[in-house]
Each structure stands twice: as C-alpha cells, then as structure tokens.
Subunit: 218 residues, 2 copies
DNA sequence: AAATTACAGTAATTTTATCACAAAAATGAC
DNA sequence: GTCATTTTTGTGATAAAATTACTGTAATTT
C-alpha cells in the first residue's frame, strides 16, 4: 500500500515531485480517540486517510464541542497542515473516530511542492473548497433546521456509516457532535422512543423505524 | 485607476498573464442594493473591490438571510466566481451594501490562468482560506455567544464601519444580518435602551454608551 | 386626506438551553 | 462478589430565543 494509490493527482505530478513525496511520507497507525491535530499547537502535515475515520471539531472556551466534518478512506485532511496556508485563522481539532491508518506528508515538503506546482496548488484548492462546502452545509442545518430534524438526520447518517441500525453511542457524544446539550438529546430521543422510532439502552440507540426518522429529517 | 494597483500579486505574475488580465478585466459601478452574484445561477468572475462595500449572505427556503461576511476596498470576491473551483458546493449571494466600484476578472480567463500558474493558484488558496476563516469565526459566535453579546458586537462593528454613532438601520435588517427574528432584535434593543446604552428611533439606532456595549460584547 | 407600506412593539406559545439534582448501570478496587 | 466510584440517563424548574399572531404608528404614495 503506497501513497500513489491514495493520492488522486499522483499521475499529474512530475517525477521529482513524486520522488520527494515518496521519500518524505510517513505511515501512521492511530487508535480510536487519538488526537491527530490540535488547533494551532501543531502542524504536522497533510493526512491522507488509508482506512478508518477521522472527525474534525471545534472547541469552545467552556469545553463544548461541535463536529464540523468527518474524513474517510481516501479523504485528505488539509487542516492538520493549516500552517501551509497562512490565511487559515481558526483552530480545529482532528481526532480518530475509529482505529485508522494515515499517510502523513510533512508540512514543509508539501508547502515547498505546492509553491512550485500549479497542479498541487489547484488540487489543494479543491480540498479546501470541499471542507468549506461541508461547513457551509452545516451552518445551513444549524440555522434553519429544527432539532428534531437534525437529530433524525444524525441518527440515519450514523446508521449508514456504521452499516447498522444499532448505534453504540451515548447521548453526551451525540450532543457533542451536534453542538447542543445532553439533556436536549435525551429528551428528543425519549420522544422518538415514545413514537416507536428508536429503542434506547445505556450507551445505545437502535433505529426501529428508519422510514419515519427519514420523514422527520425531511 | 487600474487593476495593477488593486491586485496584490501583480508583480509576481508573468508579462503574458498581466496582459491577459488587463485585456479582459471590466470595470463595473454598482449602486447600493445591486445583487452582484446569485448562488449557482451565475458565475461572472472574480470581483476586486475598488471602493464601496459588498455583503455575502446565504438565503433559506423561507427567505431568511444570514450575513456570512463583508468585503471592502481591495478585498477579492472569489465566490462570485465559484465555478472556477469545482468543489464549491454551496450558494452564496453577493450584494452591494453601498455604492461600489469593482473590477471583474472573467471566470474563464481566471480559470485558465490559475490552471497554469502556481502563484495564482496559491493566491486563490489564500483568498479562500480567508473567507473560510471568517465563516468559522461566525460559527463560533453563533454557537457560543449569547444574543446580547452578539448584538452589542454587531452595533459596534456597524458604528466603526460607518464612522458614526448614529446607525441608520432597521431592526429587520439587523435581524437579517444576524440570522434571527426581528422581534428578538427589537426586544434586545429596547433593553439596551432601558439601560441607556442606545437611543432608538424609527429606522435608527444611536449608540450612547459604547463602553458598556463593548463590555457586554466582551 | 386617504390609503398603502414599512417599521416597531408586544403578548402568547413553543422550542431550545441551562442548571440542579437524582437514579440507574457499569466499572474497578479490594 | 461487594462496595465505592464513575458514567450515563432521567427529569423538573427556569431562562433564553424563536415563532406566531397580532396592534399601532410613522412615512410615503396616490
């Protein structure tokens, strides 16, 4: 398994660029829960996800979290190398949501290559635009969709990611993803349960009527 | 007044690139209220603001607005040319908030140049990262700051932009900027007035105690 | 001057957030 | 295995903010 297979524009790079990437890239295995990048504290490099799942979130002064987006196999995490683009002026935290394998392209190498390569710079543009788009989508959800719709959508999304109707997740974690309070999640889940759409247990939510959840989510 | 003076990386472009920009760039004068770009409907080109003020906002299905960021003299509006970056998957509306003068660099020219120029592609990256950062900042405000703080901050920001303590703005417009309901703005302004921090009149808000407003905004 | 429109105010209700506390389930130390 | 601790869930009270549904009034148009 080499970078070549995971880096979409590989065949548009020059031999020299490929060589430099190959020589500097590092493989890293991280277990669930590992913080791969913590705001402006570090700037290791670009992650290319081989397997697993990462989560990008922001953190308030009081310790509240909101998940901004997620990264999956073949996704590229640009913000872990946020210092390669000066104008990025916000802190984001990247955490492994599952045991994951990633390639790490060191910041200085990537920055140097990007400065000299229109192909790489344009590609970086596309990655950033993708994340930007996800964030804009999130804003629209938060601003204009009521909580029941958002929660239903979240449960369905989780279920689809996990390929299972039985989610192993606590109310508190759901609240962190959605940027709300745990009590709010508990209450809405109880309502969903009373309507027969989910079935609750400690640390678990089972989706028992996905059609209705989907209808609620719109 | 030429593009040269307003385009920061002018002297890092090749002669050919400069010529192409010079030959294709268009000057446009727009009066307050003009919609310069409307989501995915159009993709005229990159705006370089000579004078005036633009506003970027999103629009919900029900017609609610939220201001995402603003653009001033020498700022560059990339999202009016959103189609140059494929991965931009959201709709934004750009409106002239004041009578403005802008240069328009046509989409196809900019796209062509960017594909061949690392300098231009990297610069585009920086512009996008700036807007992305502003959006992230906005999210943090919305998620974690209470409405009184945000309103106080908004009033002070407006006052500083207009260079005046007497704002000519309606409650409804403030609500559109902040993505909330007009009644909510009315009530909070009434409270501010009862505390002697502002003085209200039809279509106008006068800031009478900026220090306290600042203290509230944190 | 009357009618229309834009803007502001307010009351009632609902939704969401916050605070405070308690109960139940899981976990670990012993 | 039992007890203490921690984690997770449940819930009531209260507050903040959004929504709905009006009323009133200043400004503008006709």
């Amino acid at each position: 398994m080499t970078l070549k297979e995971y880096f979409p524009i590989w065949n548009r790079l020059t031999d020299s660029e490929r060589k430099q990437l190959e020589q500097s890239v590092i493989r890293r295995s991280v277990s669930k829960g590992t913080i791969l990048h913590n705001g402006s504290e570090d700037c290791v490099g670009l992650f290319v996800i081989c397997s697993g799942q990462l989560r990008a979130f922001i953190l308030s002064d009081e310790g509240k979290e909101v998940t901004i987006y997620r990264l999956f196999e073949r996704d590229i995490c640009l913000l872990s190398a946020s210092c390669v683009v000066q104008s990025i002026q916000f802190d984001i935290i990247i955490e492994a949501e599952k045991d994951s394998e990633v390639f790490v392209i060191p910041t200085d190498i990537y920055k140097k290559l990007m400065e000299g390569s229109a192909v790489l710079a344009n590609y970086t543009n596309e990655i950033m635009a993708s994340r930007f788009s996800e964030v804009m989508w999130m804003i629209e959800q938060i601003m204009w969709k009521s909580f029941d719709k958002r929660l239903a959508a979240f449960l369905l999304e989780e279920s689809s990611l996990e390929q299972s109707d039985s989610l192993k997740i606590t109310h508190d974690r759901i609240a962190s993803h959605m940027g709300t309070a745990r009590e709010v999640v508990t209450r809405m889940l109880r309502y969903f349960q009373s309507e027969g759409m989910v079935s609750l247990a400690r640390g678990a939510v089972e989706l028992t009527d996905k059609k209705r959840l989907f209808a609620i989510s719109e």
